[in-house]
Amino acid sequence: MANTTLTASEGQSWPARLKDASFWAEWAALVGLIALVIVFQALNPTFLSLGNIASMLVAAAILIILAVGQTYVIATAGIDLSIASVMTLGAVVFGQAYAAGLSLAPASLLALFASALAGAVNGMIIAWGKIADFIVTLGMLSAASGLALILADGKPVTIIDPLLLSLSTGGIGIFGWSFIIAVVVAVAAHVVLFRSRFGTHVLATGGAPESATAMGISTARIKIAVYLISGALAGLGAILLVARIGAAEPAANTAFLLNSVAAVVLGGVSLFGGRATIVGPCIGALLLVALVNGLTLLGVSQFYQPLAVGIVVVLAALLMRFQQ
């Protein structure tokens, strides 16, 4: 009888759980993060100094925000390959608006709007044009970076603004403002995913699109909404990025794309859609930042960092195969 097997697996003892591969898959990001912290701390005691923790959290902020957006898209069995170039576009729009004399708030709104619009275009082409997510967002990757280059005429705009500076340097204790913003975004995203009708419909759209449609859920609308969210969060990331580097550059930011997908995979979110958490990708983002930070502290050449990130991600994806 299924009832009995069900209670048995739920009341599993800890030793039994530790032997279960799906348990490790579920918590891969957290286990990996703890392991990395122990190793790096043992090799270099400054790793866990307050100053370094603070800088890691700030460095993780943008990635967390992008990973949250990417999670929503991947939860619907899609993928947003344009997330980083849409962020670049947002940054350039911000820079141009600021250079044109707009103050911080309207420039930020414009950046958010431009990025959200790019996301919505992705969603509409995917949902109504019925074209694979992969292709549409790959096209947008190119289009958005091209647009950014055109708008910026290929040149970065330096932005010196005291408020923007405090966004990237100020904070409460070891928590920088940008990290606090990222946490607020993550908490809101968690509540929406698990405590709202929309969140349930996102998971249903990813898990079983035909079933969702049969129950009257408009999967097209859900698709458009998740790409809009992804775009808008890329816009928020753009503002934090400009604050962080003090300039709006039409640079490619490809590392952010790879890392956002990597964080989601590390976080145990199924690439086939229907299963997702927000906590997982956030821990995944922290893990990636800790990895790069630790390698830098140990004096490992920068050239090794992409290699390390790649290995970790593929290992994580392999581990996911054991997830139930």
């Binding site: 009832n3 069900l6 405590r195 009708r197 419909h201 898990g207 079983a208 035909e210």
Partner: protein, 261 residues
């Protein structure tokens, strides 16, 4: 022999006819899927829809369920003409469908599936949060009301057996004060015991006063459960019989075209 002579004399009083499809036609491009199909279904009765693969049974019930819109003809429900633009409209009107693929989301829990797109929310100012406790409690009531052998409503559908999944889908269709429950081959994928349980459920729904419209390939089951049988062949309704007045052989003859049409 004409089509009309094969149809039973207009089903006595029209009072309890819940669903009345009149001359429903639908074409997909060059393929004429339905040609002037007229069937009825009564409250408190099990109406069977039989026919070979591709006869148009599923297309017809998909019209009733609001998934397709007929090119011509009328679908009367509860005495009023319908004009469904989506499955949601049909559900609003009280027509629930248990799809052949069950339309469950495996990664969601039983209660999430029961309330899919019918979620109960609590409003806190501008935000509406799911009332998970209310949905869990209601789900337990729905499941126990039908005495269904479904494990905890918090378990994921992925962990359920085929019969349990069918039970969840039927539970969902029976809830929410539906009047007509459409089932597309409800026992096709089930074993003997599970089939018996699902049949019990179907009978219980009938006793509660639901009208049931059941597509089935199992003639023995049709003869045992149904009150009325409609036979479809090549997009047409080629005959209708009160089950009590017919035999399995006659139904088979209608399906294969040896008789009528």
């Amino acid at each position: 022999m004409t089509q009309m002579t094969d149809r039973p004399t207009p089903d006595t009083p029209t009072r309890d006819v819940l669903l009345d499809c009149r001359d429903v036609s639908l074409a997909f491009g060059n393929v004429q899927a339905l040609v002037d199909v007229s069937i009825t279904s009564r409250a408190g009765e099990i109406t069977a829809l039989v026919g070979d693969n591709g006869a148009g049974k599923s297309t017809l019930v998909r019209c009733v369920a609001g998934i397709h819109r007929p090119d011509s003809g009328q679908i009367l429900f509860d005495g009023a003409a319908t004009n469904f633009h989506s499955p949601e409209d049909a559900r609003e009107a009280g027509i629930e469908t248990v799809h052949q693929n069950l339309a469950l989301v495996e990664d969601l829990t039983v209660w999430q599936n029961l309330f899919l797109n019918r979620e109960i929310v609590r409003r806190l100012g501008p935000v509406a949060l799911l009332d998970r406790r209310a949905m869990r409690d209601r789900s337990r009531e729905m499941v126990s009301a039908l005495a269904v052998n479904v494990p905890a409503v918090g378990s994921r559908v992925r962990r359920l057996s085929g019969g349990q999944r069918q039970a969840v889908a039927i539970c969902r269709a029976a809830g929410f004060s539906s009047k007509l429950v459409i089932m597309d081959e409800p026992t096709a994928a089930l074993g003997v015991q599970e089939t018996a349980r699902v049949e019990e459920l179907i009978l219980r729904l009938r006793d509660e006063g639901h009208a049931l419209l059941v597509i089935s390939h199992n003639f023995e089951q049709v003869m045992r459960l149904s009150h009325q049988v409609w036979v479809m062949r090549a997009g047409r309704c080629v005959g209708g019989r009160r089950t009590a007045d017919t035999t399995g052989e006659e139904i088979v003859a209608l399906v294969t075209g040896a008789l009528g049409g």
